[in-house]
């Protein structure tokens, strides 16, 4: 706990939280500013049988693939960059802190902020839905599925970003990885499920709980259908992420600066 507080102390003047709020704010503004002009959504608001809540959930779900890799890359980079800039690895290790705690603290802070982003999104969905008066009952399971699924994918994304931000002195490398991830995340809804599941960041598209029926490879109708989140690829990704977490941490522990 001491090291975690110290890590937060080191973030003084780094404006990490402000950066986090700006990026998340832009995303939420981008997503929710469209609903007011969306006639389909406005028609669904007063219809108890229409999937208005699901329509709200797919807003952030569709755009998280673009914003979350960038958000994770920026936060991880800002938190790890100060160690590279000040050449503080040796300082920390000679002063009672080992690599394991460094990894733990950095990872915990980035993960906590990303989890906070997911909760803020869920809260915004509920608040916005209530403010426009959606009459449909809130599908709590779907919303929780969105939160859990996003958290599982984000865990892997954070693991990758923290590792590369810690071992690469040049922060352009992890930032580029984040950008590539964002690109994949953004176009992932256009990719077939098998392909997007292999591409880590593409899995955000699995959280689209509303769509058109394209079974058998063809569009079956123009109406919207509610889809259950397919957790199988997410669980596989999460397990791979856990392995990556252990492997990356061990690599970092042995890394010589």
């Amino acid at each position: 706990m001491k090291y975690l507080w110290l890590e937060l102390y080191k973030l003084k003047h780094r404006k990490v939280f402000l950066t986090f709020l700006v990026i998340l704010g832009v995303e939420l503004l981008f997503v929710f500013s469209n609903y007011g002009n969306n006639k389909n959504f406005l028609n669904m608001v007063s219809d108890p049988a229409a999937p208005a809540w699901e329509d709200l959930i797919i807003g952030p779900a569709a755009i998280n693939g673009l914003f979350f890799p960038i958000l994770a890359a920026v936060i991880a980079s800002r938190i790890c960059d100060m160690e590279h800039k000040g050449n503080t690895w040796k300082l920390l290790e000679c002063n009672n802190q080992n690599r394991k705690t460094i990894w733990f603290c950095k990872f915990t802070i980035v993960s906590t902020l990303m989890m906070l982003a997911i909760f803020i999104q869920a809260f915004t969905i509920i608040a916005y839905g209530n403010s426009v008066g959606i009459v449909q009952t809130l599908p709590v399971r779907t919303l929780l599925g969105f939160v859990l699924g996003t958290a599982m994918i984000t865990f892997v994304v954070v693991t990758i970003q923290v590792f590369f931000s810690l071992v690469c002195t040049n922060q352009l490398v992890p930032m580029s990885i984040g950008m590539v991830g964002a690109l994949i995340g953004f176009i992932s809804t256009l990719l077939p499920p098998g392909i997007r599941n292999i591409l880590i960041w593409g899995n955000y598209a699995e959280l689209m709980v509303l769509g058109q029926d394209t079974s058998s490879g063809n569009l079956q109708s123009s109406g919207l259908v509610v889809r259950n989140i397919n957790f199988i690829p997410l669980v596989i990704l999460f397990v791979v992420g856990l392995v990556a977490y252990v492997v990356f941490r061990k690599r970092f522990e042995k890394y010589e600066y």
Partner: protein, 300 residues
Amino acid sequence: MIVSTENLSKEYDGIYRVNDLDIQINEGDIYGFLGPNGAGKSTTMKMLLGLVKPSKGSIEIMGKSFNEKNRQEILKSVGSLIESPSYYGHLTGGENMEIIRRLLGLPRKNIEEAVHIVRMEKQMNKKVKNYSLGMKQRLGIAMALARRPKLLVLDEPTNGLDPAGIEEMRELVKTLPTKYGMTVMISSHILSEVDQMATVVGIINHGELIFQENMSVLDAQRQPYIILRTSDNNLSCQILRNMNPLRTGDGLQLGALSDEQTGKAVQNLCANDIAVYRVEEHRESLEDIFLNLTGKEMTL
């Protein structure tokens, strides 16, 4: 014995950058660790701090075997400044010191004392990124001193400092054993710097310790000699042949002479109508000894 290593070695890509080092540092020493760039000084110091794992050999610090298990415990009594100073540029000097205080769980008075030793009291509210290199070095030393270490390991602490900064650093290091009871290991490739402050010298070249003795032993090797310049150097050589003179470019070189012997030599030359223009005592420099020890391969 504060530091003792046995066959300490480090291999990189099949090549031993440090090979079978047996370093011995006694309490209260200022151990000057000398060697040219790339000789293995920093690697050795990193091994002593557990930052690099030795390929073979053992390290004992303050009587305890230094290993992964007790590393943190031993390092509580070891201050260090390795290569360039480490700092958080976006924080003030005071905030940087606070990080060290929290990491080590030190009382505030330790920080105040360390800052006072390096005379940085007035700079503590300034962001470190705005410090000069000398100030950053001093902050680095303050961080190392904060725990009141028994052993202080400084790797080229005068790198990049101006002459005034070097002098200041030297005076600071010299006071540490006497005033604060510390043992200092300081590496450098600047020989004159070590010459002026070390009590024991270790010389490393191509990863091997080629010399390790008290400064007094090194001083004894630096025999003084007399250079004479006269109106007739060849004739002077003949007159003083019982002193085994050596003819040099524009004079003659005599061995280590006492004041009386020097006086007699001059008197003798004057009695033979030879004018003595110059009598100079020279002493072999540390550089000369180094070049001899390292087979004149050293880059100085």
